[in-house]
């Protein structure tokens, strides 16, 4: 009973409820929506945003943000195809993607932690810088299916127990990152930093180092997500990943990862991504013009923040009542 009571207060509950409502509601209006293939389309389609949302959670819980991930993931998806077509092994190209992502993350983290620059501005700058480098390196080239490593191609086409391998990757990453976020000191420190930045230093948390490491991890995972992107689309060009960062942040916020820091989970972030993807599919299934999707996403973000504010003020007032009685 106590566990149930606690579950209701959990931040991920609203997004899961939203997911059920959208899914069942759409299915009732158009029964085709209840098919396995639709479910698979959702999970297959969401893999990139979900992976990036997991990575983004590390920085958002610290009350920071990383806008550079869209450029990073696009660039590494290109690099993976380009390098492997030049004969490098899969391991080598994945390592290259990881290092590129981690380097961008480390630059972000250094500027934010050690120079005290605001993450919004720093990562906006690196968003443009990485995209600029990408344009120069990729000058007019396109990665086509023949250049995609065979293993990635296979991952994009096959399923395990009926679930796309791309989403299996998301699940494994989510469980692993979720465990670390809950059970390691370093990750708990990120929540403390986001919850009360000035107090975090006073309790002995190495704030600068943590910020640097978190941005580096976000960058590294976003770099690896290039592989997921390439497996999903089987192609890449200098347009890849354009604007994706905003969708990723939307997924986190909708999933209860508070933009004000201190709270939220990778499970919530993935759920948020799945909800946004489900709505995209539902809009298709219901024959609603596609442009409504963006408006719905926007509405959801406001709803998520509104709910967040409502819940936190409710906590506050219930305590005041408790104290006076």
């Amino acid at each position: 009973m106590r566990a149930l009571g606690r579950l209701i207060r959990v931040r991920e509950v609203p997004v899961l409820l939203g997911l059920v409502i959208v899914f069942v509601g759409t299915g009732l209006l158009n029964p085709i929506f209840f098919s396995v293939s639709i479910l698979n389309d959702i999970l297959f389609g969401v893999a990139i945003v979900a992976t990036l949302a997991i990575a983004q959670t590390f920085v958002i819980v610290m009350r920071h943000i990383d806008l550079s991930v869209g450029s990073v993931v696009g660039f590494t998806s290109f690099l993976i195809g380009d390098l492997s077509s030049k004969g490098f092994s899969l391991g080598a190209v994945l390592l290259a993607a990881l290092l590129v992502g981690a380097s961008v993350g480390a630059v972000n983290g250094f500027l934010v932690a050690y120079l005290g620059l605001p993450s919004l501005v720093v990562t906006l700058a690196t968003l443009y810088i990485v995209r600029g480098i990408f344009n120069e390196v990729g000058k007019g080239q396109t990665i086509v299916e023949s250049m995609v490593p065979e293993e990635l191609n296979w991952l994009g086409l096959n399923r395990l127990f009926g679930i796309s391998y791309l989403f299996i990757i998301v699940l494994v990453l989510m469980v692993f990152a979720g465990f670390l976020m809950h059970r390691t000191r370093a990750a708990r420190d990120l929540y403390a930093i986001g919850s009360n930045p000035s107090a975090a230093g006073l309790v002995g948390i190495p704030v600068k180092l943590r910020v640097l490491l978190a941005f580096t991890s976000t960058g590294a995972i976003s770099g690896l997500a290039g592989a997921v992107m390439l497996a999903r689309f089987n192609s890449s060009s200098t347009q890849s990943g354009l604007g994706l960062e905003l969708l990723v942040i939307a997924a986190c916020v909708v999933g209860g990862v508070s933009i004000a820091g201190g709270t939220g989970s990778v499970f919530g972030a993935v759920s948020g991504a799945v909800l946004l993807q489900t709505i995209l599919m539902a809009i298709g299934a219901l024959g609603i013009p596609q442009f409504w999707q963006l408006a719905v996403n926007g509405t959801l973000i406001i709803a998520a923040i509104g709910l967040d504010r409502y819940l936190s003020t409710r906590v506050k007032s219930s305590n005041i009542m408790g104290a006076s009685s």
Partner: protein, 501 residues
């Protein structure tokens, strides 16, 4: 505490200067195991600097600090805690999104096999809360906790690091009387567990109720230290101010004029109802009552920062529109709010800017505000209020609490108000400045200002007010003239104890 008690901490001849300002010039402090020790002194006497040296925020220039016979390592809050010294500030800064259990162990989470062990942290936190006799859910988040509960969490944190010296810096300033009682019982528990507790407060009655020994500081140096039973209140005050304070509240008989402010049947649902009173020119009108009885809400409604449902407020017979602070200001009302840090001052701005902000419109020449005229306004009031400062361009955050309060007063007096509302005008202010603030208020009333004073301190209300309205649970439960008002009457009205008669 007995003569055989062991010395835990000893500070000898501590000296500390900030730039040209000598904050400590020979401070001594000896703490014994199992005692509650009052650290007293006016604001600016060096208490904060001394405490911050113990907390690891400052490092003393010369002198010595020994802890258990060893030299105390100064430098960071972390090392201070590791050596067993914990400081609980008046307003603790917890992590609002983390659970109480995690707040207790944050930065040093308990681990099993290198992994954070949640159940162990919950269990240990629970045990510590139980030890103090405080019932709080360790799994709830800290957001929304009262200041009193936040302090308890900090104390539990101190216990969890096995602190031997626990410093409480003005913990009772923002607490209700019930919460103060609980804090006292917690402090006694700590004492019985052989901690040395340092208690800083400006309320001498609390010091006598709680402490075994006391140390008084003045101008950065220790001027006396003794068992509490050996000293009287008057002696302590004399040590603190270095002179006899003949009359704490220099009150002259009022010269009453016409009615300035009239409040008729003011109601605000859930806050207060049926409020009626008049305030005359030259009168000091006291609003007494317990914390939460609706006093601050009423003055906020009068000043127009809060809405009210029915009733009216008029100044010189002209009724004010509700919910408009700018109209209230134009009609000559000024409000010195309760919380000067949050509501009264722009902390990083200069004394001049803070004082002149209420009259900026008048200082505009050719579309811009001239710094010169800001400074003139600032200087004028600094002089009138006898503000202690180095330069009029100094940020107000660098002033002591008492001097900050003077700046807030000056800022509102600059508007040349007809009615001045002061909410807890001397909260957290030392005895010397307090008496000065009282003198100023009294003088201004003599000059024809109508003053409404909200105060939780009984001696202050009784000493200053010409007439007192007592509030209980949002209702006006009694009006007393200066001659009728006794502490017993006010308390029985405020608590409802008299209602049974």
């Amino acid at each position: 505490m007995s003569a055989s008690s062991r010395v835990v901490l000893e500070i000898k001849n501590a000296v500390k200067a900030f730039g040209g300002v000598q904050a400590l010039s020979g401070a001594d402090l000896v703490l014994y195991e199992g005692e509650i020790h009052a650290l007293l002194g006016e604001n600016g006497a060096g208490k904060s600097t001394l405490l911050k040296s113990l907390a690891g925020v400052h490092r003393i220039d010369s002198g010595s600090i020994t802890l258990n016979g060893n030299s105390f390592q100064q430098g960071s809050t972390r090392t201070a805690q590791q050596q067993g010294v914990a400081v609980i500030y008046q307003e603790p800064s917890l992590f609002p999104d983390l659970t109480l259990a995690e707040n207790v162990f944050v930065g040093r989470h308990l681990q099993t096999a290198k992994m954070v062990d949640w159940s162990k942290m919950q269990l240990e936190a629970k045990t510590l809360f139980d030890q103090l006799g405080v019932d709080l859910d360790v799994n709830r988040i800290a957001r929304g906790l009262s200041i009193a509960d936040q302090q308890i969490v900090e104390i539990v944190k101190a216990l969890s690091i096995k602190a031997q010296v626990i410093v409480m810096d003005e913990p009772t300033a923002a607490l209700s009387s019930k919460e103060v009682e609980r804090l006292f019982s917690v402090a006694r528990t700590l004492r019985d567990q052989n901690c040395a507790v340092v208690f800083v407060s400006h309320r001498l009655d609390e010091v006598f109720a709680l402490c075994q020994r006391m140390t008084v500081m003045r101008d950065g140096a220790t001027v006396g230290s003794d068992e509490i039973t050996n000293v009287s209140e008057a002696q302590i005050i004399k040590m603190m101010v270095g002179r006899e304070v003949s009359e704490l509240f220099p009150k002259q008989p009022p010269k009453l004029g016409d009615v300035v402010l009239k409040v008729e049947n003011l109601c605000s649902s859930g806050q207060f109802a049926g409020i009626n009173f008049e305030v005359r020119k030259g009168e000091i009108f006291g609003l007494a009552g317990l914390v939460g009885s609706g006093r601050s809400e009423i003055v906020r409604a009068i000043f127009g920062v809060d809405q009210y449902d029915t009733g009216s407020v008029s100044v010189h017979g002209v009724s004010l529109p509700k919910g408009s602070a700018s109209k209230a200001m134009a009609a000559g009302i000024a409000l010195v709010p309760e919380d000067r840090r949050q509501q009264g001052l722009l902390m990083p701005y200069s004394i001049a800017k803070n004082t002149s902000i209420t009259v900026l419109q008048k200082l505009i020449r050719r579309f811009v505000v001239r710094r010169k005229s800001e400074e003139q306004v600032g200087l004028k009031w600094a002089k009138t209020l006898q503000l202690k400062f180095t330069s009029i361009g100094d940020a107000v955050e660098r002033l002591s609490g008492g001097n900050q309060q003077k700046v807030v007063l000056g800022k509102w007096l600059a508007t040349d108000p007809a009615v001045l509302i002061v909410d807890e005008p001397t909260r957290g202010i030392d005895v010397g400045t307090k008496s000065e603030v009282h003198r100023l208020l009294s003088e201004m009333a003599q000059e024809g200002l109508a003053i409404i004073m909200v105060s939780s301190e009984l001696p202050e209300v009784l000493g200053m007010a010409d007439r007192i309205v007592v509030m209980r649970e949002g209702r006006q439960v009694g009006t007393l003239s200066r001659d009728e008002a006794t502490p017993e009457k006010v308390i029985s009205l405020a608590t409802g104890a008299g209602a049974l008669r």
